[in-house]
Symmetry: C2
Subunit: 213 residues, 2 copies
DNA sequence: CCGTCCCTCTGACATTTGTCACACACGCCC
DNA sequence: GGGCGTGTGTGACAAATGTCAGAGGGACGG
């Protein structure tokens, strides 16, 4: 064991898992992180399920997950990892961060949340921060989340709004939710009013933007 | 001037402009392309207008543009470049390629269209291909575009569908299009029928997926 | 225990939206 | 020119949607 005085991260480099479906980014990122002496990319994955399998096999210290991946999204993977590998810290990297994702991520135990607009060096610092046990949330995304505030929708309203998201007619939504059509209309109307939307479709759009569904 | 026998691209390296709002990717990409002897990244930009300004200043041989950028999207930049710098080849790199974008891009004179799932080395090859004057379109994206086929919508139908995209009520659409409400309903109904949609909102969603609006 | 508040749920009613039949203009082929 | 097909535009009618008033139930504090 090397126990001399080391100033670049100590004897144990941080073992990193990289998961992103865009090879271009993942490969480039791996190359840049490899330049950091104290970081070691031990596994890469291009999908949610693959990320989980890789994590089981390689037991990384930190998992860097893209939000949008085929199969399972980043937050879902983080949730699963929390249960399976409690010692593994998770962080999310995302292209266009919407407030709701941030809240979902933090609820799933994610320790870091950053947009892809940061530099690689900054990302390396954040990986170290997260590995050390601190949390890091991009200030701009945090501001967005705070300014957008909590969802004013009740659970049922959000649920029905989600069922209405693909433009289905009321009758179909009512059937899927096992409710009377009138009830469905009422919830959607209430949700639209809270969101200052003209109708349920505009409400869906607004709720999406705010990350509330 | 070096004029000896060179086998890695000749005496004039390909001058490349990189435009992408995600620093993480742009920086990483620049680093990876720098490993190629015959490619030289002469400028980087994080937005559409910035990309144009950089292109004017540095006159690159090939402009690698992200599709989604603040200010002006990649296709819009490509259109402007075609007029201002006819000698500059343009190519689009995109995260999630939808058929309509590909058609728009080709119409704008773009010579290359690739998803971000390709590797950096592959991208380097494609930059060379494009610089040599050939075109390159990712096979999978091309297949999508062909299978999705041409839009069955007439010009007016597509136009009104676009106005309906944010969930606005018919009256507002009619006003913005200077048409009678009945006419608007008729066009949207026709568009919905062609797309096998239950209503105009579902039609909007389908047309978006197919890249027809 | 009681009142109060909020969420859930429903049906009746008015408004909005989708469907249909039809009129007009334009381009095309014979 | 005459016949034909297609895109554009309109209004009447039927169906879907949004609005409203209100009933029932659980949580919370006085």
């Amino acid at each position: 064991m090397t126990d001399g005085a080391l100033d670049t991260g100590g004897p144990h480099p941080v073992r990193v898992l990289l998961a992103d479906d865009e090879h271009l980014i993942r490969g480039a990122l791996a190359a840049l992180l490899a330049l950091e002496d104290d970081l070691l990319v031990v596994a890469e994955a291009a999908s949610g399920p693959e990320a989980l399998a890789m994590a089981r096999a390689h037991r990384p210290d930190v998992a860097v997950l893209d939000l949008q991946m085929p199969g399972k999204d980043g937050v879902a993977v983080a949730t699963a990892l929390r249960a399976e590998l409690p010692g593994c810290r998770t962080m999310i990297v995302t292209g266009h961060g919407r407030p709701g994702h941030l809240k979902r991520a933090l609820a799933a135990g994610v320790r870091g949340f950053v947009p892809k607009t940061v530099s690689a060096q900054r990302l390396a610092e954040i990986i170290r921060t997260v590995h050390a046990g601190s949390r890091y949330v991009d200030p701009e995304l945090a501001a967005d989340a705070i300014s957008s505030g909590d969802s004013p929708l009740t659970a049922r309203e959000a649920e029905l709004l989600e069922l209405a998201a693909d433009g289905a007619p009321i009758a179909e939504i009512a059937e899927r939710a096992s409710l009377a059509p009138g009830t469905v209309r009422n919830y959607l109307s209430s949700a639209a009013a809270k969101l200052s939307a003209e109708n349920r479709h505009a409400a869906v759009r607004i709720a999406r933007e705010r990350g509330w569904i």
